[in-house]
């Protein structure tokens, strides 16, 4: 497999780096090679794109140009980043007027967007390595009941993301099954985590989060697995506030899919930095043994 440019994104790189740690360890075991580049913010498809569309296209195109200059595809650890980079790539490939306009701006800073590389979400790369994941799993996670939340921008808008079924996603489930764990369906798999609306309307984000966590709790899942740092922060970071607000215990451990795979590979939890989770994961660690 050719080397990728790693796009860890602002949130993982500068706020919750333990997620990058598990991703890198899993990539090493599976032989997925990466290198760094001085990428800026992608920028946020739910924030900056709504602020100024052309500015968002230009910053995204500049990031793509950085990877293009080395002729390497990008591997993203985040739904938001892969959504932005794929949307920008798609837009500029299909709209020559826009592409010319953005390139006029990039030219002033000595860059050019050509449209020669692809952007991959790490989950769709892992989806192509199911056999390898199976054979590197030394601690089968049998008996662990896992609820899956791939997050909106892993597969939507489907015409651009080209990963999974937009309303019945399977990729994340297949990876969980390859690790030997059991997938439990909870009926709200494609519901948004509520993170984006929370930025301006906290209460509405919490109401959506409640609906999601109620469903996960009801089926008795041992944990909820995610592949997006914004969703992770919403589920892991806001769970305590949710409990306070609705006077109800949830205590549902949240794992990044890379953490689940790494645990199955026998990588010790302290090397993964699981102690930095806000919602305790000790129950699952005990269960895995």
């Amino acid at each position: 497999m050719a080397e990728f440019k790693m796009f860890e994104g602002c949130m993982i790189g500068n706020r919750i780096p333990f997620i990058e740690a598990s991703c890198r360890k899993v990539f090493d075991k599976l032989g997925i090679a990466t290198s760094q580049a001085p990428f800026s913010c992608c920028p946020d498809p739910t924030g900056f794109a709504n602020f100024d569309n052309d500015g968002w296209l230009a910053v995204g195109a500049r990031n793509l140009a950085l990877a293009e200059s080395e002729g390497k595809d990008i591997i993203s650890l985040c739904n938001g980043c892969s959504n932005t980079l794929k949307l920008v790539n798609h837009t500029l490939k299909h709209d020559n007027l826009k592409k010319d306009k953005i390139n006029q701006e990039l030219l002033k800073i000595g860059k050019e967007y050509k449209g020669t590389i692809d952007v991959k979400h790490f989950v769709s790369v892992l989806k192509g390595e199911l056999e390898k994941i199976k054979s590197s799993t030394v601690k089968p996670l049998s008996g662990l009941k896992v609820a899956c939340h791939p997050g909106c921008h892993y597969m939507r808008p489907s015409e651009v993301m080209e990963t999974d079924d937009p309303m019945h996603p399977m990729d994340l489930k297949e990876i969980v099954i390859a690790c030997g764990a059991t997938v439990v369906d909870y009926g709200e798999e494609v519901l948004c985590c509520g993170s984006s609306v929370s930025n301006a309307y906290e209460d509405h984000g919490m109401a959506i989060l409640k609906k999601k966590m109620d469903a996960v709790k009801k089926v008795g899942a041992d944990c909820l697995v995610v592949n997006c740092p914004a969703c992770f922060q919403q589920f892991d970071g806001k769970q305590r506030d949710l409990s306070k607000k609705f006077e109800e215990e949830f205590k549902i451990p949240i794992l990044y899919i890379s953490e689940l795979i790494a645990l199955g590979m026998g990588i010790p939890a302290d090397e993964l930095g699981t102690k930095f989770h806000r919602t305790r994961v000790s129950d699952i660690l005990e269960k895995i043994g």
Partner: protein, 164 residues
């Protein structure tokens, strides 16, 4: 309610194929919208599409902020629309205009300012840099902040930001 034809042209230009004109107000977007559900339709994607299509600029921008900014950008409406209208693209146009009007929620101005000044939505912090080291991670490759700020300045983004 008056139609603003310039605004209507902007909306139609988002869809060169004119697909938005085939919206028959079936309400599927709103039925599936997670925010419409928890706000009792204070956020209503179907209504936004209708107002945009008819060029009712005043109705859109003089309403409560949540009528535009309640969108959580989950792209569910795009997927369930029987006419394949990319609603989220239209909503982005409305939000961009709301930013220019100076009416967006504070968060969006703050995030844009952070990106403008740091080239990252989450700037580096010493405590996290140390944590990266403890976890055996390489330092984050630092972006060229000057270059990014120049790019955004050239495009007039600085003029859309709000004061300190």
């Amino acid at each position: 309610m008056a139609t603003d034809f310039e605004f209507r042209k902007q909306v139609l230009d988002m869809h060169m194929s004119g697909v938005i004109k085939y919206c028959y107000q079936c309400n599927r977007c709103t039925d599936y919208c997670p925010v419409a559900e928890v706000t009792d339709n204070a956020y209503n994607p179907r209504q936004n599409i209708l107002n945009a299509l008819l060029g009712f600029k005043d109705a859109i921008f003089s309403a409560e902020k949540i009528a535009i900014w309640g969108c959580t950008v989950c792209d569910t409406c795009d997927e369930v629309c029987p006419q394949s209208i990319e609603l989220t693209e239209i909503f982005k146009l409305l939000k961009n205009q709301s930013v220019i009007n100076g009416d967006a929620p504070d968060y969006y101005y703050l995030q844009a300012k952070t990106i403008f000044e740091n080239a990252k939505a989450v700037p580096p912090q010493p405590a996290i840099e140390r944590r990266r080291q403890q976890l055996g991670l390489p330092a984050v490759a630092a972006p060229d902040v000057n270059e990014l700020t120049t790019l955004l300045k050239n495009m007039g983004i600085d003029k859309k930001l709000k004061g300190e």
